[in-house]
C-alpha cells in the first residue's frame, strides 16, 4: 500500500511538472487558434518565393497589411513552382510569384481569378571574384553560361523548379544547351534549396549561380561572390500577384486574396517597395512601374 501512495505522489509530481511547463507557456497569449473555423474569413495563406522572404521585403509589408485589413497572413515561402501547385490545389489563397510563362499557363488552365503586375528586379550571374571561366562584364547571359559549360567550371543550380530555376533552364536552352542531362555532369550541381542556401553553397564551393539581385544584395556581406553578368534584358525578373480561383476550391478566401492583391498594387505599397533596401544597400532591391 505504501508503494501505491508513493506511486500516486510520483505520478502527481510528473503531471504537475508537465502542466506547469505547459501552463507557463499558455500564460503568453497563444497564437490565433485556426481550428475554430474563423479561418475562412480572416486568415489568408500566401504562397510565395523564397526571394521575397529572404530579402526581408515581406517582413515590412505583411504586418502593414495585417494592421490595415485585419487579416492574418500565413506566408509559406516555397519556390514558384511549388507555389503554383499549391494554388492549383486550393492549398493557398493568393500567390506572389515570378515565372511569367508558368503563370500564364496557370491562368489559362483556369486556376487563377486575377493576375496583377507588382514589381520587378533582375537576375544576376554571380561567381567567385577570381572568375575562372572569365565571364566578367559579358552582356549576353546565355553566352556567359555557355562559356561556363565549355570550361566546365562549377555551376550551382537551384534545381527546385522555382522561378529562378525556370529562368536558368530557359537561359541554358537559349545557349543551345539542353538543361535536362546537365545534372549528370560533375561541374553542374543542384542544391535543391532556396536562393539564400544556394548562394551560400556557391560561395563556399567557389561556383557560379544565377540569383535574383535582392537576395544577393541582402547576403552579399556574408558571401565571396561578385556580380559578373548583369543588364541582359533576358535577366528581367517580374513578380505578379495571383488570386486563386475559388470556383474550383470553394474554401479559398477570395476576399482576402483580392484585398492582398489590391494592397500590393496600391500606390502606398508601391512607394514602400520602390524605396525598400535603399538605406542599407544604396540601391532599391525591387522596382515598380515598367
Amino acid at each position: 500500500m505504501r508503494t501505491c501512495s508513493r506511486l500516486v505522489g510520483w505520478v502527481g509530481t510528473l503531471i504537475l511538472l508537465i502542466s506547469t511547463t505547459l501552463g507557463a507557456c499558455q500564460a503568453i497569449p497563444p497564437p490565433v487558434d485556426t481550428a475554430s473555423g474563423r479561418k475562412m474569413s480572416k486568415e489568408l495563406i500566401l504562397a510565395t518565393t523564397t526571394s521575397t522572404q529572404d530579402s526581408g521585403l515581406l517582413d515590412v509589408l505583411i504586418p502593414l497589411f495585417e494592421k490595415e485589413t485585419g487579416y492574418t497572413v500565413k506566408v509559406i515561402a516555397v519556390g514558384t513552382g511549388a507555389a503554383l501547385r499549391m494554388g492549383e490545389r486550393g492549398d493557398a489563397d493568393v500567390l506572389l510569384v515570378h515565372a511569367p510563362e508558368a503563370e500564364e499557363a496557370f491562368m489559362a488552365a483556369g486556376h487563377g481569378l486575377e493576375r496583377e503586375y507588382v514589381m520587378y528586379n533582375d537576375f544576376v550571374i554571380v561567381g567567385p571574384p577570381d572568375d575562372p571561366a572569365g565571364i566578367r562584364g559579358m552582356e549576353d547571359a546565355s553566352a556567359a553560361m555557355k562559356r561556363i559549360a565549355e570550361s566546365q567550371t562549377l555551376w550551382i543550380s537551384r534545381g527546385d523548379d522555382s522561378g529562378t530555376h525556370k529562368k536558368e533552364k530557359s537561359l541554358w536552352k537559349e545557349a543551345g544547351i539542353d538543361p535536362t542531362p546537365l545534372a549528370s555532369q560533375p561541374w553542374y550541381q543542384e542544391s535543391g534549396q532556396g536562393m539564400g542556401a544556394t548562394l551560400r553553397i556557391a560561395s563556399e564551393k567557389g561556383g557560379y549561380t544565377l540569383s535574383d539581385r535582392a537576395t544577393y544584395l541582402n547576403l552579399q556581406h556574408t558571401l565571396h561572390l561578385d556580380i559578373l553578368v548583369e543588364g541582359d534584358p533576358r535577366l528581367y525578373n517580374v513578380y505578379h500577384v495571383i488570386v486563386v480561383n475559388p470556383e474550383k476550391h470553394p474554401n479559398v478566401n477570395v476576399e482576402g486574396a483580392r484585398a492582398f492583391a489590391d494592397f500590393m498594387t496600391s500606390p502606398q505599397v508601391q512607394d514602400i517597395i520602390r524605396s525598400y533596401g535603399v538605406d542599407r544597400f544604396g540601391q532599391p532591391l525591387f522596382h515598380v512601374g515598367r
Binding site: Q26, V75, A197
Partner: protein, 232 residues
C-alpha cells in the same frame, strides 16, 4: 568561431532583454513539443503495455514496426501529415494545416514509437515471476499493470526524455506542417533555418543556443525526477 561566440553573446542579450520575438518562439517550441510528448505518452504507454503482455499472431511484425518507428524520419511524418491536412487532403476541412496543432500531431507521431518501444522493452525486462506473484497476492490486472509500470519508472522517464529530445530538435516535420509562419508556427528550429538562409548567422546561433538551453533545462527537470524516483 567568432560567429559562435557572437551568437552566444546575442543569446544572453536576447534573454536578458526578454526579446518578445525570441520569447514567443521559445514558448511555442516548449508548448508544441511538450504537448506532443504528453500525447505520445498517453497513447504510447498503453500500447507498450499491450505489446509487452499480450500475445497474438503477427505480434513480431508489429513490434518490429514500432522499433523501426523509433527512428522515423521527421520529414516523412511531415509529408504524410501535410498531405492529410492540406486543404486538398482528406482532412483539409479541419483547417489545421500551418497551425501549432498540426505540429503537435506530427511531433506526437514522431514521439510515440519511442515511448511505445521503450516502455514495452522496459516491461519485458522485468522478471516474469513478478507478474504471477502480484496476481497471486490478489492484485487485479489494473493494479498489476500500475505496479509493473512503477517498477519501470526510471526507464519510463528515460523514454520521455528521449521522446522530448527527438521532437524538440526536429525541423523537417515542423517546417512542412507548420510552414514556419511568423507569430503562428515559428519554433526555434525553423527560425534557425530561416535566419541562416537570411545570412543572420549570429541570430541563428543565438536561437540554437536557446534551443540547447531549453532542452537542457527540461531534461534536467526530468532527470531530477528520475533520480528522486530511484530512491523511492
Amino acid at each position: 568561431m567568432e560567429t559562435i561566440w557572437a551568437g552566444i553573446r546575442e543569446a544572453t542579450q536576447l534573454l536578458l532583454h526578454r526579446d518578445p520575438y525570441v520569447l514567443e518562439i521559445t514558448a511555442l517550441t516548449l508548448r508544441v513539443s511538450g504537448t506532443a510528448t504528453l500525447v505520445a505518452l498517453v497513447l504510447g504507454v498503453p500500447i507498450g503495455v499491450a505489446l509487452a503482455f499480450l500475445d497474438f499472431p503477427g505480434k513480431s511484425i508489429i513490434v518490429a514496426a514500432v522499433n523501426t518507428g523509433m527512428g522515423l524520419p521527421p520529414v516523412v511524418v511531415g509529408l504524410v501529415v501535410a498531405l492529410m491536412l492540406w486543404r486538398s487532403g482528406p482532412l483539409g476541412w479541419l483547417g489545421l494545416i500551418y497551425t501549432p496543432t498540426a505540429m503537435v500531431i506530427a511531433q506526437a507521431l514522431i514521439a510515440w514509437p519511442l515511448v511505445t518501444g521503450l516502455s514495452m522493452a522496459a516491461l519485458q525486462q522485468l522478471d516474469p515471476r513478478l507478474r504471477w506473484q502480484l496476481l497471486g497476492i490478489g492484485a487485479s490486472s489494473w493494479q498489476m499493470v500500475l505496479l509493473l509500470l512503477w517498477e519501470t519508472r526510471l526507464l519510463l522517464v528515460a523514454a520521455i526524455i528521449a521522446a522530448f529530445g527527438a521532437v524538440i530538435s526536429e525541423v523537417g516535420a515542423s517546417m512542412m506542417v507548420g510552414g514556419n509562419v511568423a507569430h503562428h508556427t515559428r519554433v526555434l528550429t525553423t527560425a534557425t533555418v530561416l535566419e541562416t538562409s537570411k545570412g543572420n548567422f549570429a541570430l541563428a546561433m543565438a536561437l540554437s543556443t536557446i534551443l540547447l538551453l531549453l532542452a537542457y533545462l527540461v531534461t534536467f527537470a526530468l532527470t531530477s525526477l528520475q533520480q528522486r524516483a530511484r530512491r523511492l
